[in-house]
């Protein structure tokens, strides 16, 4: 498949010298869902605005389906759809009028525009409320309307700037379903998000962006693989007894595949209680751990396998938690030191 978006050394400076987007390069393949994952202020919206011709870049090169983002802005606008971070619908118009008007922006003839409005309202499940003012819609409904208006031109590439920020889980899932369905029909999708889960669920490939720079790029699965280790928390019965603990430690550290073992009575990163075991393939390690502890006559009280999440990926590459509201969780910055 061809690269439909090619971004090379893109820089966007704001006065006086805020490097909103700081020399990023990436490509998006036709037909994929490509994610830009990063916290607020990382430069995601700035980047998407340059790609959608809304913002002039400072330097670098951006090609959308071979068109230059500045010289051929008009051609690009004809083949893309864009849903902004805010809700880009007119609340004084009905849902139907919003879509109809958007059709007119693309020079779709009146009768076809009416048909299109009908079809799209059905697609996003707003047919029942089509003639109500968009101002009366819930947040999720407005987003779906916004999505529908981004689809009037049957865009080859759809740009979605944080399509589900601020939505309840149910509305979010509905938007996800629409995005998947669109992609299945061949639409290339470029989306930004600050939700790990969203990137994990939707994106075939993603860039993690922080402070205007791309800190990691790849398939979500592979990125998680780069963390290199699953984590197994183990609590043994009689763990107050140092002898039992050291016996357990000795036993598990001899299991092939175990990279590192931490004794939480001595403190350590990721420690809450018991023992933390790191290994490349956690699901294979679990039975081995159970068997060896059993033969060493150490009784297991509790055993939990934790797969690395994109959160862990973010921490690995940036050294900090992605979302500040999660800062209460013990800092896991040490993840990096371990490998």
């Amino acid at each position: 498949m061809a690269d439909i978006i090619i971004v090379s050394n893109l820089v966007k400076l704001y006065d006086p010298d805020i490097r909103a987007v700081d020399d990023i390069s990436f490509t998006v393949t036709q037909g994929e869902v490509f994610g830009f994952l990063g916290p607020n202020g990382a430069g995601k919206s700035t980047a998407i605005k340059v790609l959608t011709t809304l913002l002039k870049k400072t330097s670098g090169d951006v090609k959308i389906k071979g068109f230059d983002v500045e010289k051929d802005a008009r051609e690009i606008r004809n083949i893309i759809g864009y849903a902004s971070q805010g809700v880009g619908v007119d609340i004084d118009l009905t849902g139907r009028e919003n879509i109809y008007l958007q059709c007119r922006f693309y020079h779709i003839p009146k009768d076809k525009a009416r048909q299109k409005a009908n079809d799209l309202l059905g697609t996003v499940g707003l047919a029942d409320v089509a003639d109500r003012l968009a101002g009366t819609y819930s947040g999720g409904m407005k987003r779906r309307l916004d999505l529908a208006t981004a689809l009037v031109s049957d865009p080859e590439i759809l740009f979605l700037d944080e399509p589900t920020t601020g939505l309840d889980p149910q509305s979010r899932r509905a938007i996800w379903d629409h995005i998947r369905a669109l992609n299945k029909n061949g639409t290339t999708i470029f989306l930004t998000t600050q939700y790990m889960e969203e990137a994990d669920q939707l994106a075939h490939r993603l860039c993690i962006i922080d402070n205007g720079k791309i800190v990691a790029e790849g398939e979500p699965g592979k990125l998680k693989g780069q963390i290199g280790a699953d984590m197994i928390r183990l609590v043994v019965k009689g763990g107050e007894d140092p002898n039992i603990i050291s016996k357990a430690l000795n036993t598990v550290s001899q299991i092939p595949g175990v990279k590192e073992v931490q004794d939480c009575t001595k403190g350590g990163i990721d420690c809450i209680e018991g023992i933390v075991i790191y290994g490349a393939d956690g699901s294979n390690l679990v039975p081995l751990i159970v068997r060896s502890l059993d033969s060493a006559h150490v009784e297991i009280d509790n055993l939990v396998l934790a797969k690395p999440s994109l959160d862990d990926v973010f921490i690995k590459f940036t050294g900090r938690q992605m979302r500040t509201d999660l800062q209460k969780v013990p800092p896991k910055a040490g993840f990096r030191r371990r490998r």
Binding site: K49, T53, R77, Y82, G88, D90, L93, R104, H107
Partner: protein
Amino acid sequence: MKTKLDFPMEIAAIFSRWVRKLVRRPTNLTFSMIQPLIWFLLFTQAFQAVANIPGFQQITGTSSYLTFFSAAVIVQTVLTSALQSGLGMVDDVESGYLDKMRATPVRRSSILLGKVFSDGFRIVMQVSIIIALGYVLGVQVVTGLPGIALILIMAMFFGIAWSGISTFVALTTRNSESTLIISIMFVFPMLFLSTAVMPKQFLAPWVQTFSMYNPVSYVADAVRGLIIRGYNWTLIGQAFLAILVVGAITLTATTMMFRRALAK
């Protein structure tokens, strides 16, 4: 496919959007009319005695302060209505709707022109209501319906030109409070420092001097001429010249700002 017909079609689409918004929210229509209405109904009663000042009738051509003042109310309606124009633009900036439009193939100039025409439409509606109310209160327009039509045309062009100020402020500040506060400074000071409210001879000397450079004076004088005395083509010509100058400045500045907003 792009054809020549696209351009008027785009403008019509944007225009109809704003007109619809006007109908959906009647407050948008009444918003800028409340103050002129209060003036019309209260001030003309309170200041009736101004007409008794010796020389009033010789200077103004009417013995009724209400009739004299109706031109001021028309001009005030235009000025306040014009400051409202920027607010619509700010809404679009804040909600992301402007970006949404800009990401489509629609021309930048259509976005502006459709809006400008709808502003003109709104101003004509509002001034029509004021003139109708004036008729009820007893203001006679000596030039009749053709004169009223000319007043409306003048009001529309002046309003479009003046609304460039608030649209410029809106695009610069991108904030509705600032837009309102800054734009409002272009309403009352400009009105009081013009010949709209008092005959020129009654104004303080420095205000007289300022009023000569104030475009509001020329429009007010021309409107008043059409209401009280008849067609004075010198006054009307001067008014249109003033409108042209204001329009050239504000619309150039607005277009520049609109294009610059792209780079931000």
